[in-house]
Amino acid sequence: MTQALWLSVIQGAFLLSTPVLLAALGGVLTARAGILNLGVEGIMLVGAFTGFSVAMTSSSAWVGLLAAMLAGAALGLLFALFSITLRANQIVAGLALTMFATGLSGYLGKPWIGVVSPAVFGVLRLPLLSDLPIMGEIFFRYNLLVYLSYLLVPFLWYFIFRSRPGLRLRSAGENPLAADTMGINVIRLRYLYTAVGSALAGAAGAYLSLAYTPGWIENMTAGRGWIAVALMIFSGYNPIGVLAGSLLFGAVSAIALRAQAAGTAISPFLLNMMPYILTVLALLVTTRRNRGKPGPAFLGVAYDREGH
């Protein structure tokens, strides 16, 4: 391969890893509190639509991003109402959220198809760093959202595993009854982290519609929300693992995309299968390895103080 091709694959890997990274990090935060949110795909779609339409009307990509995160948080609270207060099965509630939100984004988004927005996140050139030969091209030629997402990884790792609020967060997922006894408001905590995690999924959607491929297309997430959920599971609910997984996903998607652009004889449909096949394989390999640490003990179990 030529150097230019290599570079485009590496850059593509970073660009394509960002949305799944953001969404999966949000998922980890929520899961650590004991809530399994399968609505990520739908939240991302609403985030993508909201981000784009608000950025269009406000002429500010930042306002769009903020709106996408708020929309994500609102959907997260809806999910929380069902899974936490009404103690619904979290799998069904997540599926309901994905269908509802996917439909909502398609319904509201119809007039926005094909509209071109002037307000998007463009490549952010850092002084000196971006001009470095090769290193500059590999690491410092992205939009701000890419940098922010990657900075979120060490921050969240520290927050979850080394800080006091992180300890409280994990206690709600590992042993809610004990946490409650210690005076931690498990219900409120679960609501909070479901909302925050969903806000990140909303941001992941906005990344797609405001930075990666500016514009709104129905179903533009193409299963990335589900891949984020898979990443979260096979990373063992750990931000560092999520980072590795998203880079792998980004790399495979980028290779598939470049191979297509380079005009290989392989059908684009077969190439596009690669990320999904990879996700299944990664689940197979890592789940067997993760046997000892399967994640938060009370993940997906509604908390009821009276223990019904």
Binding site: G42, F269, M273, T287
Partner: protein
Amino acid sequence: MKLRWERRLDVPKWLLVVAPAAAVLGALLLGAMLMLATGTDPVKVYGVMLKYSFGSKNDLAETGVKMIPLLLCSLGVGMAMRMQLWNVGAEGQFYAGAIAAAWLPLFHPDLPAGIMLPGMFALGLLGGGIWALLAAIPRAYWGIDEVITTLMFNYIAVLGVAYLATGPWQDQNGNRSFPASPLFVETAHLPTFGDTRMHLGLIFGLVAAVILALVLSRTSWGYQIRVIGESPKAAKYAGMQVARNILLVMFLSGGLAGLAGMTEVSGIVHRIQPEFSAGYGFSAIIVAALARGNPLATVLVSFLFGALIVGGFALQTVNMSSKVVLMLQGAILFAVLASDFFVHYRVHFARRPRAIQPVNQSADRKALS
């Protein structure tokens, strides 16, 4: 005043019927409010949907046509649901069954009529079943969550159909802008009723529903499935083969979805083309949830949802996204979950009981930490 709830000791029978019905009505009302809030006339939307799904004999037949794959998929999803298995991969199994069934007329068009349709039937069942096993085996032996894997296999199957239709199976003499396989020979078409598009698949679905209802309620195997679903540990102690039953149930579940794919290609599409499912596999999850995995209730619910899907297509004629239907379906599923809560809990208003206040709460907290 504060809302309080307590678990009902026994659930009245009528509530099990009234609750899902109220859920559907409530969701449609909520949808109407959402449309009003976003500047769409809900009366017009629901009017169009009703007219196109029940308006005339042909419209009604069209609703039946959509009901067939929905019924077969929903029976499969509902059967897995009985065992607490979440087969959200019916969409992919539908396509896998369709591909397997289509292979016969495309590559062996000269087979006698007596072999063609039964052969396609068997291949559809096998194709969907094997596709489901790909997710069921990791679930049964290594405990890998079936929700994610069945979903991933959906995407792979959708792309697989697109690959075949635009690649090796493409009709070289066909329209280049609408890539598809050649049309099946006449012997591979399911017979239709009268001059409508309604086809024999309806009988497959109804018979499958009756058989499933009998098997689940009258055989010891049906009982085993319920026990495994409700308490895998108890099932193991009782000597039931949990892993083997997961495989069997998922195979049958996928097989029914695959059969749906077979009836759709053989009865309606008559060839393989990209994305010919109207999301039957996804709607099936809601149908199964509404029917609570009861096969006979599934027949009724899938008829109603068939109408919903026909109505969704009709919305495109008034320049609206057919995704409105997906939104309504999501709302219905939410409403079902909410109604479940009211089925299991009695809710009443109560004055907040006067709790005995600790003299100094913060001092207690400090002492604990």
